[in-house]
Amino acid sequence: MKTYNKLILILAVLGLFSSCKKFVEGYEKNPTGIDYTVVDQEMTAVMLENQFFQKADGLRIAMMWLNQATGSDRQYVTLDDWNKASGSDFNGPWNEVYITMTHADIVEKQADADGNIILRGLAKLYKAWAGGEAASLWGDVPFSQLNQYELYPDPAYEHQGDVLDQVQDLLDEAIADLNSGVGRITPERDIYFEGNTSKWVKIAHGLKARFYLHRHQPQAYALALAEALQGPSDVSDDLYAQYDSNDDTPYSKWNPTKQFLESRSGYLDASEAWARTKLLNGLRNNVKTKDYRKAYNYAGDGLNAASGATGTGKFFGDMPMVTYGEMLLIATEAELRQHPDATGINNALTHYNNYRNLLAAGEYMGGYINSHMKYDSYDATDFDAGGIENQDNIDPVQAFFREIFEERYIFFIGDYESFIDFARSFNDPIVPEYMKLHYNSNGPLYSGQPLRFIYPQVEKDANANFPGMVDVNEALPLYQ
C-alpha cells in the first residue's frame, strides 16, 4: 500500500510537470522584438548601406592605395601599404556590400509578392549595383546563391565575368520593371529621386555602362557607349550619396570620411598623396586648362572635409555616385577603345569636351568657382606629338588615353572607380603609366601594385567554398 501511494505521488508530480508547457509558451518571443518590416522602408536602408559601402572604410583603403590619401597614424600607417593589409581589413566592406545585396533581394522578393513591379525593379538595380561592385573589386564572388541560407549555407564563388553577366541581365530586368508602370517607389522613401522612375532608369543604364566598361573587353565598349548615352544626361540626373556634416546635424548623418577624420584624428591625411602634391598641384594645367579642383578635394595637407564661404569640401557633403560626368567619361573612353585612331579621337572629343564644359560651368567641384578657372575644349591636335597634351611625343591615341585616365583619377577621388581603373588598366599596354602610384616625394613607397581588394577573413573563417586568399598584387580574373 505504501509503495502504491508513493507511485501515485511520483506520477502526480510528473503529470504536473508535463501539463505545464503552457507556462513557458508565448515567452520565447521578445516582447519588444519586431519580426517584419515594411518593404519600402527596407529599400531606404538598402540605399543607405550601399552608399556607406561605397564611401566608408573600403573607400579609405582604396584612396590610400591609390595615393589619393595617406595613412598616417596607428593602424592606418600599416594599412597604407597594401602588402601589409590583411583579410580582416576587408571584413567591413565585404559585409557592407553583401548586406546591401541581401536586403535588396529581400525587397525584391517582397515587392514581387506585393505586385509592386517598379519597386521590384529598383531592388534589382541595387542588387546588381552592389554585385557588380563586388565583382569589380574582389573578382570571383558569390552572387547567384545569395540570401538562401537554408539552401546554400556556403555560397559558391562565381567567375568575375559570370557575375558581371548576371549583373547586366538583372539591370535589364530592372529597367523593364521600372518602365512597367505598375506600382511605385514611395517618394518619401527615395532619398535620391523622390520616386522618379525615369531617373532611376537612367541610373540603371549608367550602371550598365559602368559595368560594361569594367569588362575591359573589346566587344563590351560599344555596349558601354550605348548605355552611357542612355544614362544620366544632365547634372540634374546625378545620383549623390546624401550627407549633411553640419554641426547641428546628427553625427550619424555626416559624410563617413568626415566622421572618420573627426573620430580618428590624425589617422588619415593627404600629406604624401601624389594626387595632392603632384597631379593636382599644377600638373594638369596647360593653356586650355587651369584646374582648381585641389581645393575641392584637399585642405592643407589633409582631405577637405570642411564647408566654407568658397564652397563645400568633397568629404563634407554629398558625394557623387553615378553621374552625367561619369557617362561622358565612359563615352569618351568607349569611343576611343572602339576606334583607337583619328576617328576615335574626334568622336571621343565630342564627349570629352562636353565633360570639360561641365567643369568649366563649375560642376563636380563643390562650388569652388574661381575666375581663373579654365577648362577649354580640346581639339585633336592637342594630342598630336608636341601638342599641349602630348609634350613627350607619344602616340596621339595613347596620349588621349593618358588624359582620360588622369582625368578619371581626379574625378573619382572618393570613389571606387579610380581604383577599378587602376586594376583594369595596369596591364593594359595602350594606357601609358599615368599614376606615380608607388612613388611620392620621398621616393619609392611599397613593392608591387594593389590590383584588387583582399578577400575578407570572415569568408576564410566561415565559408566552406572559400577559394583561398589571393595576393593583393595579383590582377583580377578579367584583367589578367
Binding site: 511520483i10 556607406f52 541581401t102 570620411t257 573620430s263 566561415a462
Partner: protein, 1107 residues
C-alpha cells in the same frame, strides 16, 4: 591518479595499526552536561561490540567492567553520543553536548531544503561561517570568501567603494554566457547580474553585495556539478548557498540582542611611482604653445637645472586685458607658462588631492526571540563608506526579517524578508580620457592640478565653465564642436571626481516563504516561493568640457528585475530493509525572470552646468530607449539517495526542464557515490581516534547553462551600420527604416552542457584534529554558445549556435590541523590549494575571439589556449625566436601572438587561528601563483615619460645612436635631448642603454614613444608574471564574558582589530599595482591592467555586544 589514492589509503591503514589485548578492569566516572556542568542521570554506558552496559545514577556516576582498549559509548536522548577508549586510567569522566534540533542528521541541499545528511555525502562542499565572514572586514560577502575556499577564484576588481567582485568556481564554463555561480539565499535563487563594466566606465555593486555579512549565518559553496545538478540549467557554475541568521532560543519572553559595530580606515594598497626629474615637454624642452593641446609627455627639461625663480607666464597683472590666464574655483590666477623656472614638483600633492584615506562605518543590530512555537529574528544593518577616491561613496541600509513557526507538530512555516537600499557614487576609471588615474598619472611632475575649474580669460574674452588640465593650462576654450584642441586632453583628476557624477541607487527586496508539512511518517510536503525584486538607477554625467565628452553627455539608466521561483516538493523516506534506506525527493518548480529598462541619453548641452537636467539638451540630442526581457521555465526534479547501512550512499538526481529560451525538454542527470570507509567493521573495531572519518566520493553529472532569451528568432532592427572606425549611418536620419538583423536566430539553440567527473575524499583524523578534504575533477563544457560567423552572402553575418568546447581539470584541497585543542588554548593551522587547468578545445569559425581589451592587447579565447588568453603584438623575430634588428640595432614590430595566459597555475592560502582564554588571533594569507598580466599602465606611462625607468640618466659614448639612428652627440648638440656634453667624448643624457644584439643603443624619447612604449605595436614587453601573495587578514580579538562594566544585562563584549590586505608581495618586483585587480571588472576579460583603480588595505576596529 588512482595510484595516489592507493597510497593515501595505505598511509591511513598504516596509521591505524592497533594495540593488543588487555585484562578486564572496573571503570568509573561522572557524566555531566557540557554547557552547564550539571550531572546527567540515566545516561547509557555500553562497551562497544558487546552486551555489557550500565547507566548513570542521580549524580551522573557510573561503574562498568571493561578491558583496556575497549570503547565505552555514552549515549543519552537529546545529546550527542560520545565514545571513549579505555586506557590505563580507570576513571573516565565525560561531558555530553546537547544535540540541537537534530542538526547532526539534517543539512540543507542545493535547493536550500532540509534533507538527510546522507544525501550530501558525495558532494564537495566548502563551508564558511559567519565569524570568518565578518572578521574579513569586507562588506561584500563574496569578497569576504577570498582565500577561504578551495576551487574558487575570486577577483576584487578595484578599490572603488561598492565595486563588484568576480567569482568563478572550478574555472569558467562558458565563453559568452555567465560564469558566475548561482546564489541561493535561504532557498531562493537570486539575481546577480551586473551592468556597466568594461575597459572604461565605472564599477557598480553586485546584487549579492546587498546581503550584509552581518545577517549571514553561513555560506556553503557547492562546487561540483553533482552538487548543483538539481538546478539543471543553472548548475553549471556551481551554487553558493547563503543561510541567513535565524532567531535563537532565548529564555521565555526575553530578547537576544547583538550589536555589531565596526569602523575601518582604508588606504590604497599600491601607489604607482612616478618620476619627478623631468618636466612637461618634448625633446628635452618645455614648448610653449597657446592654441592647441599642450605637450602630453614629460619629455621636457631637467627640473633640477632650472633657476628656481617663478615661472614666466602669459599673465600680466598690469595688463589683464592683454593677458591669457585662468581664474580657478578658488579665485587663484594661473597663466600659461612661457618659461619654466620653478623647481617645485607636484606628484604627491596631485595624488593626495584625489586619493587618500577612506573609511567605513558599519553598524548592525540583531534581535532575536522565541516562543514555544516560533523563533523570530530581525536584523538592521547600515554601512557608510567614504571611498579612498575623493567624492566616492557607498551606502547600504539593510533590514532582514526571519521567522520560523511551528503551529503544530507537523507544520513548519518559514518566512524571510530582506530589504536593502544602496547608494553609490563611483569614479570613472580605466581607458577613459575622463578617467581618474589616466589624467592623474599622466600629469607631468611640474604641473599643479589644484586649479581645475573656472574661467578662461583670453585677451579680454571670458570663457566660463572652463576645465584646466595639464594640456590646457589656462583652461579649455569652448569654440563649438569640431574645433580641434578645445578638449582638456585628459581630465584634470579633480574635475573627474568633483564635476563628473556617477550616482547609483538601488532598492532590493528578497522574500521567501516555506510551508513544510510532515504529512505522514514517511512523507513530507513542502511548498515554497521566493521573490527577488530590485529597482535600480545608474547614471553617468559628464558635464561640458569633460575630456571624453567635450560638449557634455548624460546617460540615465533605470532598470528593474523580478525573479519569482516557486516549488512543490515531496520528500519520502523508506526503510527498504534493515540495511537499506531510501530518501527520495521529488519537486516541481516554476521560474519567471523579468528584466525591464529605460534609458535616456542626452548630448551636447545647452548650458554648461554640473546639474544633470533633462532640459539641457535640444530635442534632437535626446535619445530614449527601453526594453524588456522575460524568461520562463518549469522543471521537474528529483533525487534519490539509497544508503546501505552507514557505509554506502548512492545519490541519483535528475531534472527535466522546459524553458522559453529554447525548444524542447532537457534532462540533467547526475549520479554520485560515497563510501564511509571509517564505518567498516574493521575500522570500527579499531576504536582508535586515529581515523575518525574517511569518506571516498565519486560522481558524474551533467549540468547546463541556459541560452540568453530570444535567440530563437531573427528580429528586425532600426537600420544602421558602421565600420568600427567611427563612421556609421542610421536610417533614422532619413525617415527611419527597419531591416532584418544580421544575426540569424536559431530555433535549434540548446543550453550549454557541462559534464563533470569528480573524485574526492573527506578525512578526519587524530580525534578530529586533522581535517582534510580533497577533490579531483575533470569537466567538459560542450555546445558553448557563440555568434557563429556565417558567410555574408547567406544574408546573415552571424548565427547563434552551440559551437565551442572547453575543458576544466583540477585539484582542490582544504586542510586544517588543530595543533593545540584545549579548552582555554587552541591553535589551528589550515590552508587551501586549488589548481585548475582550463583549455578551449574547440572554437568554430574563428582563430580568436576577443572579449575585452584593446587593439594592441586583448583578452579572449582561442582554440588550444586557456580562457582569457592574452593576445598581443610581439617584436619581429626570426625562425629561432631571435630579434630581427633594424639598421640602427633596434628591434622591430612583428606579428600578434598569444602572449600570455592570465590563468594562475594554482592558488593557495594558509591560515592560523589561535585562542587563549578570551583572546583570539586569526591570520590569513593567500596567493595566486603563475599566470601573466598585461601591464598597460606601465606601457602607457612609459610613452609619456612618467615611469621611473624613463627618467634615468646614462653616460654614453657620443657615437651611440637612438632608434632614429641619431647619435647622442648630435642629439645633445642640436638640443633634441635633455643631457650634457662631458667634454671627453661621452655624454650624460636622459635614457637607458641597451644591447639588443647589435651593440649598445640609446633608449630615449624616440624609442619610448615608438615601439618601446605602450602605444606602439609591441605589447609583449609589458607582460608581467602575475604571481602575488597577500596578507589578507590579521584579526586579534578579546571577548569579555559575563558582567561587563558591571552591567548585568550584557552577556558578552567582543573587541577586535583586523588588518585587511596589509601586505602585497609580487614575484615580479616591477608591479606597482595589485595584479589581482582587473580592468574589465567582473566582466569576461582577464589579466588586463590599464589605469585600474587601486585596491585597498584597511585597519578595522570591531565591537560586538551581546545582551
Amino acid at each position: 591518479m588512482r595510484k595516489k589514492y592507493y597510497l593515501l589509503l595505505t598511509f591511513i591503514l598504516t596509521l591505524v595499526v592497533q594495540v593488543g589485548f588487555a585484562q578486564t578492569k572496573t571503570i568509573t566516572g561522572v557524566v555531566k552536561e557540557a554547557g552547564t556542568g550539571d550531572p546527567l542521570p540515566g545516561v547509557n554506558v555500553t562497551v562497544k561490540g558487546t552486551n555489557i552496559g550500565a547507566s548513570t545514577d542521580f549524580d551522573g556516576k557510573y561503574t562498568i567492567k571493561a578491558k583496556s582498549g575497549d570503547i565505552l559509548v555514552f549515549s543519552f536522548l537529546g545529546y550527542k553520543t560520545v565514545s571513549k577508549k579505555v586506557g590505563n586510567n580507570n576513571v573516565i569522566n565525560v561531558a555530553l553536548q546537547e544535540e540541537k534540533e537534530m542538526l547532526k542528521a539534517v543539512t540543507i541541499n542545493a535547493l536550500g531544503v532540509e534533507v538527510k545528511k546522507a544525501s550530501q555525502k558525495a558532494i564537495a562542499i566548502s563551508n564558511v561561517k559567519a565569524k570568518t565572514l565578518l572578521s574579513s572586514g569586507e562588506s561584500d560577502p563574496v569578497a569576504a570568501l577570498s582565500g577561504k575556499v578551495s576551487g574558487v577564484n575570486i577577483n576584487l576588481a578595484s578599490g572603488d567603494p561598492g565595486a563588484s567582485t568576480n567569482i568563478t568556481i572550478r574555472g569558467p564554463k562558458s565563453i559568452l554566457l555567465s560564469n558566475k555561480p548561482l546564489f541561493v539565499v535561504d532557498g531562493i535563487p537570486i539575481v546577480d547580474d551586473i551592468y556597466g563594466s568594461g575597459v572604461a566606465g565605472v564599477e557598480r555593486p553586485s546584487k549579492i553585495a546587498d546581503i550584509d555579512p552581518n545577517n549571514i549565518e553561513s555560506i556553503k559553496i557547492l562546487k561540483g556539478g553533482s552538487a548543483a545538478a538539481i538546478w539543471g540549467s543553472k548548475g553549471a557554475n556551481g551554487v553558493i548557498l547563503i543561510t541567513t541568521k535565524k532567531g535563537k532560543k532565548a529564555k521565555k519572553g526575553q530578547f537576544d540582542v547583538t550589536i555589531n559595530s565596526s569602523f575601518s580606515i582604508d588606504n590604497a594598497l599600491t601607489k604607482f611611482p612616478l618620476q619627478d626629474k623631468y618636466g612637461q615637454g618634448s625633446n628635452g624642452k618645455y614648448v610653449p604653445n597657446y592654441d592647441f593641446f599642450k605637450e602630453s609627455g614629460s619629455w621636457g627639461d631637467k627640473i633640477a637645472d632650472r633657476s628656481g625663480d617663478p615661472d614666466m607666464t602669459t599673465y600680466d597683472p598690469n595688463n589683464e586685458q592683454g593677458s591669457l590666464y585662468f581664474v580657478d574655483q578658488d579665485g587663484k590666477i594661473w597663466g600659461m607658462p612661457i618659461m619654466k623656472n620653478s623647481k617645485e614638483t607636484y606628484n604627491k600633492k596631485n595624488y593626495d588631492a584625489v586619493i587618500g584615506t577612506g573609511n567605513t562605518l558599519r553598524n548592525a543590530v540583531q534581535i532575536s526571540t522565541a516562543t514555544d512555537k516560533a523563533r523570530y529574528y530581525l536584523g538592521f544593518s547600515h554601512l557608510d563608506q567614504t571611498g579612498i577616491f575623493a567624492n566616492s561613496y557607498y551606502k547600504k541600509l539593510g533590514v532582514n526579517y526571519n521567522s520560523i513557526m511551528k503551529p503544530n507538530k507537523k507544520l513548519t512555516i518559514k518566512t524571510n524578508v530582506q530589504y536593502s537600499n544602496t547608494k553609490q557614487n563611483a569614479i570613472q576609471k580605466g581607458s577613459n580620457l575622463s578617467g581618474l588615474l589616466l589624467g592623474l598619472y599622466r600629469t607631468p611632475a611640474d604641473f599643479d592640478n589644484s586649479g581645475y575649474f573656472g574661467e578662461r580669460h583670453e585677451y579680454g574674452v571670458v570663457t566660463k565653465y572652463s576645465h584646466r588640465s595639464y594640456r590646457q593650462p589656462v583652461g579649455t576654450p569652448y569654440k563649438g564642436r569640431g574645433y580641434l584642441g578645445q578638449s582638456a586632453g585628459y581630465n584634470n583628476p579633480l574635475f573627474t571626481v568633483y564635476k563628473q557624477k556617477d550616482p547609483y541607487y538601488s532598492n532590493h527586496i528578497i522574500t521567501g516563504t516555506n510551508f513544510s508539512h510532515q504529512t505522514l511518517e514517511w512523507l513530507r510536503l513542502t511548498a515554497k516561493a521566493g521573490v527577488d525584486y530590485a529597482n535600480e538607477k545608474a547614471d553617468e554625467y559628464m558635464p561640458v568640457n569633460s575630456a571624453d565628452a567635450v560638449t557634455g553627455y548624460y546617460d540615465t539608466y533605470i532598470y528593474s528585475y523580478l525573479q519569482i521561483s516557486g516549488d512543490l516538493i515531496a520528500q519520502i523516506n523508506t526503510q527498504i530493509n534493515d540495511d537499506i534506506t531510501a530518501d527520495i525527493l521529488l519537486g516541481y518548480n516554476i521560474f519567471h525572470k523579468e528584466y525591464d529598462y529605460n534609458e535616456s541619453t542626452y548630448y551636447d548641452f545647452i548650458l554648461p552646468t554640473d546639474v544633470p537636467n533633462a532640459g539641457n539638451a535640444v530635442n534632437e540630442k535626446k535619445y530614449p530607449g527601453f526594453g524588456t526581457s522575460v524568461r520562463r521555465k518549469n522543471s521537474g526534479y528529483g533525487t534519490a539517495t539509497i544508503s546501505y547501512k552507514d557505509l554506502l550512499y548512492t545519490t541519483l538526481t535528475g531534472r527535466i526542464e522546459r524553458s522559453s529560451a529554447y525548444y524542447g525538454l532537457i534532462a540533467y542527470p547526475s549520479v554520485s557515490l560515497a563510501f564511509d570507509v571509517h564505518n567498516l567493521d574493521y575500522f570500527k573495531k579499531q576504536d582508535s581516534d586515529l581515523l575518525n572519518q574517511l569518506t571516498l566520493r565519486a560522481s558524474w553529472s551533467k549540468v547546463g547553462n541556459e541560452p540568453p532569451p530570444y535567440r530563437l528568432h531573427t528580429y528586425y532592427y532600426p537600420a544602421s551600420d558602421g565600420d568600427g572606425y567611427g563612421s556609421y549611418w542610421s536610417a533614422s536620419d532619413y525617415g527611419g527604416a527597419f531591416w532584418r538583423s544580421i544575426i540569424k536566430g536559431n530555433p535549434e539553440i540548446q543550453p550549454e552542457i557541462t559534464t563533470e567527473l569528480e573524485f574526492g575524499a573527506d578525512i578526519k583524523m587524530f580525534d578530529h584534529r586533522l581535517s582534510l578534504n580533497a577533490s579531483y575533477y575533470d569537466s567538459k563544457s560542450t555546445d558553448l554558445i557563440l555568434y557563429e560567423k556565417v558567410p555574408a552572402a547567406t544574408g546573415y553575418l552571424y548565427k547563434w549556435n552551440n559551437v565551442a568546447e572547453m575543458t576544466n581539470k583540477g585539484y582542490e584541497l582544504e586542510a586544517s590541523y588543530k595543533i593545540i585543542n584545549k579548552r582555554d588554548l587552541g591553535l589551528t593551522l589550515g590552508g587551501t590549494y586549488s589548481k585548475n587547468k582550463n583549455t578551449v578545445t574547440k572554437l568554430k569559425g574563428s582563430d580568436y575571439i576577443g572579449m575585452d581589451g584593446f587593439i594592441s592587447t586583448s583578452s579572449g579565447v582561442a582554440e588550444g589556449y586557456g580562457y582569457g588568453i592574452l593576445r598581443s603584438g610581439d617584436f619581429k623575430r626570426d625562425a629561432n625566436g631571435k630579434l630581427v634588428l633594424d639598421a640602427n640595432g633596434f628591434p622591430q614590430a612583428g606579428e600578434k601572438i598569444f602572449a600570455g595566459d592570465p590563468n594562475p597555475d594554482f592558488k593557495a592560502s594558509v591560515y592560523t587561528n589561535f585562542n587563549y582564554k578570551n583572546f583570539s588571533l586569526r591570520v590569513l594569507a593567500d596567493g595566486s601563483f603563475g599566470g601573466q598580466s598585461w601591464y598597460g599602465t606601465y606601457g602607457a606611462l612609459t610613452y609619456f615619460g612618467r615611469t621611473l625607468e624613463t627618467a634615468n640618466e646614462v653616460t654614453v659614448d657620443g657615437s651611440v645612436v637612438n632608434s632614429r639612428g641619431e647619435t647622442v652627440q648630435s642629439l645633445v648638440f642640436s638640443h633634441q635631448i635633455a643631457g650634457v656634453d662631458n667634454g671627453d667624448g661621452t655624454y650624460t643624457v636622459r635614457g637607458n642603454v641597451q644591447d639588443f644584439g647589435a651593440g649598445d643603443v640609446l633608449l630615449d624619447q624616440t624609442w619610448y614613444t615608438g615601439i618601446g612604449g605602450g602605444f606602439g605595436p609591441v605589447g609583449t614587453q609589458f607582460f608581467r608574471d602575475a604571481t602575488w601573495i597577500k596578507l589578507r587578514e590579521v584579526t586579534a580579538g578579546y571577548t569579555f564574558k559575563g558582567k561587563v562594566f558591571g552591567m548585568s544585562k550584557i552577556k558578552s563584549v567582543y573587541f577586535g582589530v583586523t588588518g585587511r590586505n596589509l601586505y602585497l608581495w609580487t614575484k615580479d618586483k616591477r608591479w606597482n599595482i595589485d595584479p589581482e585587480s582587473n580592468l574589465s571588472g567582473s566582466s569576461k576579460g582577464r589579466g588586463l591592467q590599464y589605469f585600474n583603480h587601486p585596491t585597498t588595505k584597511s585597519i578595522i576596529f570591531r565591537t560586538t555586544i551581546t545582551f
